[in-house]
């Protein structure tokens, strides 16, 4: 009995061991399915997320009057995430934290504990959506880090990220404002009359403590900080044109007066130094030449009438400025294929003819670089504008993607330093770039006031960088009626009128350039 029990025990042990070692350590797991790439919608709202590991933007969706964001997209850049959904509930694992959410319910379970949303959790196309208003409470449960969510501005700060600005005004003549940051920054800088605007899209710049800082200076008057739709914005207001330059480490932005800028404001007293609100309201349609300039002038009602210039400031008493309108592409060069049959070159020509008319009735002399389907090289186009000593150059393009219009200024290349009166061909635009950006901002503002979606940008697009006068390119995209809008005279007419109004509003600046 004793002898026989040993082999039995041995046999059972051996059998068990064989079974255990043969059993798969785990079912061959399917390759992790890539998360369904959230196709970006055309919605404008977005939330900016700043964390020590990633900085990113996510689209914000509106559901039943509330703002939502995709949970997976939110957590994915921050750690390892996997989800599983059956349509009604969603199980999520973030690093080692398990959570379960139910569609339409406000209660969820995270790491074994209940969590209450401010609005129902939603599941759309296997994608979990959480209300924005719950993020402050929700994210610390997953991340274990402090979260600062500015809901109205849609800016989410995770952990200790945050860049503080500080100001130091050198009240010399001319004055200079040093703007220092606690970390390198990379804002988009633009100018408009009376204002230098810095938009921080990727930098977690925080409020300097006060929304508005007033300087005891008659030229550089004040700065304002605002946050909206995931962006932070610092505006510096002045009575003279401003320019900005970066320090080597990009922690300091030096804001100074544009050398050689003539200022009526310098001789005005402090009462005459208009408030920023005046300059802002003048921008869309008026003579947005800065607070020191006269009020906006209306465009002349009749073709050829120069009443506008007669009524404007003495600085604008020039001969009729020449606008060069350039319908891009032409001849063998068809441009983008907007549809199977419609080429970009056809749309740009029709659009250019309308713009010519709109500018002419506003007192401009207009040269159309091509009025038929001919080949023109980029160098020929630039040379024509330069030889004609045009006051402004407008290149017209069309595209089938997107909506509304985009207005571009030149993105200058590395090479091309100007030597004396000679400008490098590839950087001939450099001296006029500042004014080009003002023109671009005015066109965008004017388009937007006419309910035309518009954005400004910069592009390495020839011949923008080869012309020495203010130069912009306008890319017309479809409107609400889709691609048919691109050939719609009504649609083109609205865009052309807005562009022409904007050009009139900055006419004084073109005069200075001329």
């Amino acid at each position: 009995m004793r002898w026989s029990s040993k082999p039995r025990a041995l046999a059972i042990l051996l059998a068990s061991a064989t079974l255990l070692s043969a059993a798969p350590s785990g079912a061959p797991s399917a390759l992790p399915a890539a998360p369904p790439s959230a196709l970006p919608s055309a919605e404008d709202k977005h939330i900016a997320v700043y964390s020590p590991v990633a900085i990113y933007n996510l689209p914000v969706l509106e559901r039943s009057g509330r703002e939502y964001v995709g949970l997976l997209e939110l957590l994915e850049p921050l750690g390892r995430v996997s989800t599983e959904t059956n349509g009604h509930s969603l199980k999520l694992r973030y690093n080692a934290i398990d959570a379960e959410f139910s569609a339409g319910k406000t209660r969820a379970k995270i790491h074994g504990r209940d969590f209450d949303f401010t609005a129902p959790f939603l599941i759309e196309n296997s994608r979990g959506l959480v209300p924005l208003a719950s993020l402050s409470a929700l994210l610390p449960r997953f991340l274990g880090a402090a979260v600062n969510f500015r809901e109205s501005a849609r800016r989410l700060f995770i952990g200790g990220v945050g860049i503080q600005p500080s100001f130091r005004l050198d009240a010399g003549n001319p004055p200079r404002l040093d703007l220092s940051f606690t970390a390198p920054v990379n804002p988009t800088i633009s100018t408009e009359p009376g204002k230098l605007r810095m938009v921080f899209k990727r930098d977690p710049v925080m409020s300097p403590g006060s929304q508005s800082i007033t300087f005891d200076n008659k030229v550089i008057t004040h700065a304002t900080f605002s946050e909206n739709n995931g962006d932070a914005e610092l505006d510096v207001s002045a009575n003279e044109p401003l320019m900005a330059s970066f320090s080597g480490d990009r922690r300091t932005i030096v804001i100074s007066i544009v050398p050689g800028s003539t200022s009526i404001g310098s001789s005005t007293n402090s009462t005459n130094a208009a408030s920023p609100s005046q300059s802002e309201s003048a921008t869309p349609g008026g003579a947005a030449a800065g607070p020191q300039n006269p009020p906006p002038t209306s465009p002349p009602a009749n073709p050829g009438s120069d009443n506008a210039s007669a009524n404007a400031s003495p600085a604008s008493n020039f001969h009729r400025p020449l606008a060069v309108v350039d319908p891009a592409h032409g001849g063998d060069e068809r441009g983008a294929a907007l549809t199977d049959k419609l080429a970009e070159k056809e749309v740009t020509l029709g659009f250019a003819r309308l713009l010519r008319h709109e500018l002419e009735i506003r007192g401009f002399a207009v040269a159309l670089l091509r009025d038929s389907d001919i080949n023109l090289t980029l160098d020929q186009r630039a040379a024509a504008a330069n030889v004609g000593r045009a006051g402004i150059y407008i290149s017209l393009h069309a595209v089938s993607q997107g909506t509304g219009a985009r207005v571009y200024t030149a993105l200058l290349p590395v090479e091309g330093e100007s030597k004396g009166v000679f400008h490098a061909w590839n950087a001939a635009q450099a001296p006029a770039l500042q004014i080009s950006r003002i023109v671009s901002a005015a066109i965008v503002a004017e388009l937007q006031t006419k309910d035309f979606p518009a954005q400004k940008s910069s592009a390495s697009l020839r011949p923008l960088n080869n012309v020495f006068m203010p130069a912009v390119a306008v890319e017309l995209a479809p409107g609400p009626d889709g691609i048919a809008d691109l050939t719609s005279a009504n649609y083109q007419q609205r865009a052309a009128a807005a562009i022409a109004d904007a050009v009139v509003s900055v006419r004084d600046r073109l005069g200075v350039q001329q």
Partner: protein, 193 residues
Amino acid sequence: MIPRALLIGVAVLLVVVIAMGIYLRHMRHQASELDYSSDTLPVAPPASGPTETVTLYVADDAAGMLRARAAQIPLPGGRQQRAEELLRTLLRIYQQPGAAHPLAPAADIRGIYMVDPGAAVIDLNAAFADQHRSGILSEQLTVNSLVETLAVNVPGIQRVNILVEGKPRDTLAGHADLTQWFDALTIMQAGGQ
């Protein structure tokens, strides 16, 4: 006489051995099927090199901007190989179905050359440019995405030039000027708008 318990034990073991044989055969068949399906996925990044967290600047046509996206990828040590691997990773994002900035499946990076301290030349294949969508925004986003991703992740790159099939080309697809050297800082300041 052989004890009964031993007989039972041997019999059980025999049954188990036969069952395991069948099961192993089944598992091997499944494994071969998995290998086959993984072959149809996009080319996996090389396993060599330590995994690093990098920031890819991914174009989003609808938003008209670049979005910073953190990714963990194995990167080789050399700057040139590192740059090539970065851009190929970026390219794979654009070649996924439903990408926010689609590029042609045949588009590829032929190579990247560090020609000068601070300067890099990206050599695209013909399909990259020939099949690229035409339009200022789309083309500029592609350029910005390539330049910004390189400049941020490969230390020292300040200027970038783009060739197609080893030769200079006027534009990417009719708009973005490729004859110039792109200044990384200028492009980053422009913010990929």
